[in-house]
Point group: D2
Chain length 463, copies 4
């Protein structure tokens, strides 16, 4: 059996191939002469699996796609506050090569227009760094993201440098506005060099998948971009990535994205998939015509829209109640409670909504409300088992909620046994005290409950 | 045991309460005289559970929050294409009461500014509808979303009507630009009436939770807003909901939201939670000061940012291989295959990435690549069991991928048994042919495999 | 002999007639159906002589040309300060029907765009005046300017009222911004009525000539618009009259002007000539195509550009010196002075530069500087004659300078005799004292000098 | 007797001196350290007389005032069409250092903002000229305008060059937009050098007076700027000279003007007076606070507003009729005419309105209309005398009209005698034929009429 996914990608390419609208970027010869027949797409899963189709090994210059990653580097090197003081996060509504400085602050509107990108470049390493140091730093990070050593296309670099008047103008304007501190020519040269780094769609898909994977490279497991930076980068890609049509992009396609004038586009769906396309013909906004068509198609076919509401958090909590069949009551944890043990099992990724459901289930079983005949059916249960065996991840807020649940149960003098082989709970055990036992297996949990013949419990398949 | 969530909400309220920046909307007396000490928050889960704290039964006029819902109604009544022809989806960068028509098309920039909202109102019911008909329609939908009969605050309506010059101006401008077709005074009156509908934070949270729940009311299960409209509404809330700072809102808070000048804000995190806040003091942009602070706090505490990458799709596929212990081989499905049955179990919400992982697991077990020593360990397995028992939802693309997987397995003459009690697979059984069996329980699956004493399989806890 | 001027105008019409670019205003039917073959031009001199050619008796609605005159009426009725507080004077760079309110003040940018014109209309008579009162007032003033009773074209009025959505929108916006105080519908109706007043090119030329003639009607001599208002109106026509190309109009044509969508244009060259043209086809900006061509032609042919520097103020002062031949010195005014009398004659319009030249001539003759051998040739002259007989006008500053000259001469104990039959000098005779004599004729001046046989003086033809 | 004009200027200075609002330009140290107590004003008459008061010999850098003159040089060196293709003439509404390029054409909005001025600089001499060549050319022209050798303040030049980032940015932007063709750094350096030329108020007043005098230096009589360029420069100063308040400047002050950040302002009233002021403290727009106050005061006191309608062209034509007393009729020019000769005298500057009045006078005397009892009183006069002895200038259109009048009179077989000692008429004598006689004196005119005893004529003092 062969995977249908490569076949699907091939089919998508053939569907968009007949569209020969647009033209390659004409402002520098090297790009203008691009082979417009080239067409490629790649998907990288957050565990590192890459699918690709078409001209997936053809290299092209990364151009503006670099802006997203260099913004992340600037945040790391200068700190988020310093970066926000210099570069805004608002869509400009202007073309990418407009100056678009904010009134008052003089900040470039966002890091995805040239002015913002040159500023971000100038914040890499240190204000007084040389263009070489900055290029080296950027090339290193981009290579680690791609998972292979990348290099600068010197021919593209030289050609763009010869036609750099507008960017030089932007550079001097930024200097005059107090936004960049170094020699504007150095910043612009370094920026042009960053744009001339060569990549193919598989590189880009992997770089994007790293964003989707919270900044951790799916294959090397290296944490390349801190999670907070990833969130910032993806947010800015959402509102400013595709130039002057933020709203249309979000509503139609709904994938944080960034395009480059050499014909590349990346898209990143957090937690799911990084994608990349390549086709040199651009529309009037400077986005690859076929690339946009592929993104639209993938978003629609694959339900990748970020506002797709099909992924509704459904019940991930199962509750069961068992009666502890023990010879005597003396080994019960608490004499005041009955022989019941209530078992709660969770699974998957548990975020706020999951922890809320757990809490609700606990309240319903354990909190007795005289007004509500259905409440507190097991309110005098002496023990609670919380199975986290199948939980992959607890979000911080879920953790906080569940910790609080446990503290409250313990304070009610119930025995709480958490089955947590993956150590996701990370609770303050000292604070919880002896009422909380943390074990690795169902077996150990049963032992904690009392070592007694606990058939009722055994019948519950949740643990 | 009591739930800690109300306590948390209470604590959040106390944290923001000391902030008395801002002032209530001063343009009409009724709002200017609002009791600025009022403060409330509510969360509604997608299964209908509502938590609230503070002045959660205090009613206030919905104001601009209605824009999000009336946009959805307009899409339903006039069709998305007609709505897009009249109202853009781009952030305007202008204040809410600016005209902000797009050059060329004359469309209001988006449905969240007054010009767009008045246009959306005019598209409700039909172009020649009366203001009464439109108000009735809107009040009906909003009441169904809230889960109780809402009503118009006549005092607020009258007060706003007396001070409606700017909106009247916008209405006439829209008429002149060919955007609205009805009498502009009727459209504006209707719009003002829609804004004067009274709600409390619990109503708003439930309305928002309906958006989060794909348009289906969590309690009544009525499908009030079609899923495609929900996506459109949430997209526009993302980029245009909080007026002239789309980028800052997305990067800092990351929750599609909408505010109203009476002091309400709603936030909607698809698939998870709807939230609502109320505090009358507004900042310079017209957003409730404390409301924004609560949203920021909830986003940060609860990991609700839409670009939060902590929710990474992890392994949801489990694979096990069993040997069929049968007296004879004669009842095997296919003589050429061995006695192995490979069992794949999935759980939770399965979207593209889940189906990709299933496919990958299938390929690895069943596709033999002579070059890859690790491949196709069970390539001659005669049967495949696919357990969907714990799958809550299959996204369309996941469905397509898994259908294709099954067709390919069947074409290889393997017996495929799908355990699908929830009927999530929805495959074309005719196309799949007799090689596919769909059953409800593990027991039935075992029977399909051969009725044989299949202990090895029994040991697999996946099914 | 017949005047060549009508022939010239006829020739200009024939030169522009073949140009059939543009189209009549299409937004209301009455204008759209205009007879586009009509073509007319008129010139009105500041003494009331009118030349015209073409369809000079065809009536058309005055439209936006009324804005210039109603601005003047608003200044009179509300005061210049109140008008400036409500309406700016800056070119908007926008089309005439844009709202174009200034940031901060909310004032319409200028009185020539619709927003400013509606505001000006609302300031006519009084804030609480009825539309009828305002229309009556405007019709009265425009009729006096035209020199005949004008009337409203009710068909045009009704048609424009039916299509008044944009202006209604503007009216409500102005009300909302606090710029107009009355019911916006009344203001807009009145404004539309003002625009529907019928005129022909001879009317318009005469109205314009009144502006050129300092607000005094050339034929009736009625002072209809105060001089300060005229200056304000002409200034605003200069920078804002021809919509969104102020700079090109000033540099190419250089005549303060105003156009209307029915095809009329007026031009006003202060102190010289008022002109008017009519041709219904408009360019993209809303200015009559042939009308603009006529204006350009007249400006170029006739040297009417306001920055034309050919009119250089040249010597208007003549100086002569006579010796008083008297039997004895006893009747001389001042014993210390010699027998010389210095005669200064001026002519024409005397503004600052003329008074400066007089002063300079006086200083040279009468102020002795030992260092300068050419100075003070007559520094001990006992009498000065200043002939103003041929002076038509003394500007205020010229008056001030000449008064000061006279005070200084008198303080040097010289006899000053001013020949001023037209009473242009208007000096404070008390302050000047007995050293100043003001007479009407040369003869009287001779008598004042001494009644002596003053042949030398007689030979001077300057007086 | 001393002239009151210096006293007046001194008084104006004292009136504005207490105003210490504003601050010197702070962007470069040399300007920031200016002595803010300095204050000066100068007036230059179009005949070269200069009045000044205050610190009239203090030198300061010309800065942006140079823009007006370099625009004129660019027009001379590159041609008006080429200049208009590169630089617009519209007020920008933006601050002087904004880029303000026109949509579409990319032209800087006008030559008074930095972008336009740098472009104008780049058009001086030739596109491939060196910065030295351009500076030399500009320094030469400005020195001739000032009437003395000017020089560059090297300290100011160096300081501004160190802080030239914004202008460098503008230069590169202009290069990128295809507006300037040379190395942007050379253009900016040259521009900064042009701005660093030192002047005092007397220099500036004389430079401005040259503009007022049609480009001819009042003292040297050298024609430095062609008249068409002068018109263009003054037009642009009118609409764009005082930065972002064109309309307010025109309506309040009404003098074409230009200011510089070192504190200088020039004003130019065509045909009348050039003025200059100096005071280093600037308002928020970059105009000298006291300088603006002086301009406002001079405009108001001296009636210098360009829309001042006090200078109305009044009768400059005098008509008289004489009977030729001759022994016999045989020497009359035309036997059909009577013995009358009609004498028309004109004086001063004769523009269109003057020629129109002459024509009207001629028609009234000489054209007989049976319907009009007052017409053609001398319609059968045999001779016409036209005295131009006191005419200083005939505008082109006046010339055309009067030529046509003469041709018509001659064609009616009347003898026309023009007294034109200054040769202002410049008529085609061949076309006029023998019916026209041109003489220099009244005496010669009398002889031409017939040598007869023509007492009645002698009594007319008009000739």
């Amino acid at each position: 059996m062969k995977s249908p996914i490569p076949d699907y990608l091939k089919q998508v390419l053939e569907q968009v191939r007949p569209n020969d609208d647009g033209a390659p970027a004409d402002y520098i010869e090297t790009l203008a002469n691009a082979d417009t027949s080239k067409l490629a797409v790649a998907l990288a899963m957050v565990d590192g699996q890459v699918y690709s189709s078409g001209d997936d090994s053809v290299e092209f210059s990364i151009q503006s796609i670099s802006k997203a990653f260099v913004y992340a580097i600037a945040i790391e090197d200068a700190g988020l506050d310093a970066v926000l003081a210099k570069i805004g996060v608002e869509p400009s509504g202007d073309a990418f090569n407009k100056l678009s400085l904010e009134r008052g602050s003089n900040r470039p509107m966002n890091p995805m227009i040239n002015a913002g990108a040159i500023t971000a470049h100038s914040l890499v390493v240190a204000p007084n760094a040389t263009a070489e140091q900055r290029t080296e730093r950027i090339l290193d990070v981009l290579s680690r993201l791609a998972g292979r050593q990348l290099s600068v296309d010197e021919e593209v670099y030289e050609a763009e440098l010869r036609d750099a008047d507008r960017n030089m103008g932007i550079g001097y304007m930024l200097k005059a506005a107090g936004i960049i501190k170094c020699d504007p020519r150095e910043a612009v040269k370094g920026y042009i060099r960053q744009c001339a780094i060569n990549v193919n769609v598989r590189d880009l898909a992997m770089m994007s998948a790293t964003l989707c994977n919270a900044g951790v490279h799916p294959l090397t497991n290296e944490s390349i971009i801190p999670q907070a930076s990833v969130r910032q980068v993806l947010s800015v890609m959402t509102t400013c990535g595709m130039y002057d049509a933020a709203g249309a992009w979000v509503s139609r396609i709904g994938i944080p994205a960034k395009s480059g004038v050499a014909g590349g586009i990346i898209g990143a769906l957090p937690g799911q998939v990084g994608l990349a396309t390549f086709s040199p013909r651009l529309d009037a906004r400077g986005n690859s015509v076929r690339g946009v068509a592929i993104c639209e198609r993938l978003s629609s076919d694959m339900g990748l829209h970020m506002m797709d509401v099909s992924q509704i958090s459904m019940a991930t909590v199962r509750t069961s109640v068992a009666t502890i069949v023990s010879p005597g009551g003396q080994d019960a944890h608490n004499e005041n409670c009955n022989r019941q043990v209530v078992i709660f099992s969770m699974r998957g990724v548990v975020r706020f909504s999951g922890s809320e459901r757990l809490t609700r289930a606990m309240v319903r079983e354990l909190h007795y409300d005289p007004e509500d005949p259905g409440s507190g059916r097991s309110h005098d249960a002496c023990a609670v088992v919380l199975s986290l065996r199948e939980v992959y991840m607890l979000s911080p807020v879920a953790k906080r909620v569940i910790h609080e649940d446990i503290f409250r149960l313990v304070s009610e003098e119930r025995l709480v046994v958490a089955i947590d082989p993956g150590d996701v709970l990370q609770i303050d055990r000292e604070k919880a005290g002896s009422g909380l036992r943390i074990v690795h297996t169902d077996e150990e949990a049963r032992n904690e409950i009392g070592g007694v013949g606990c058939q009722a419990v055994a019948h519950s398949h949740e643990w």
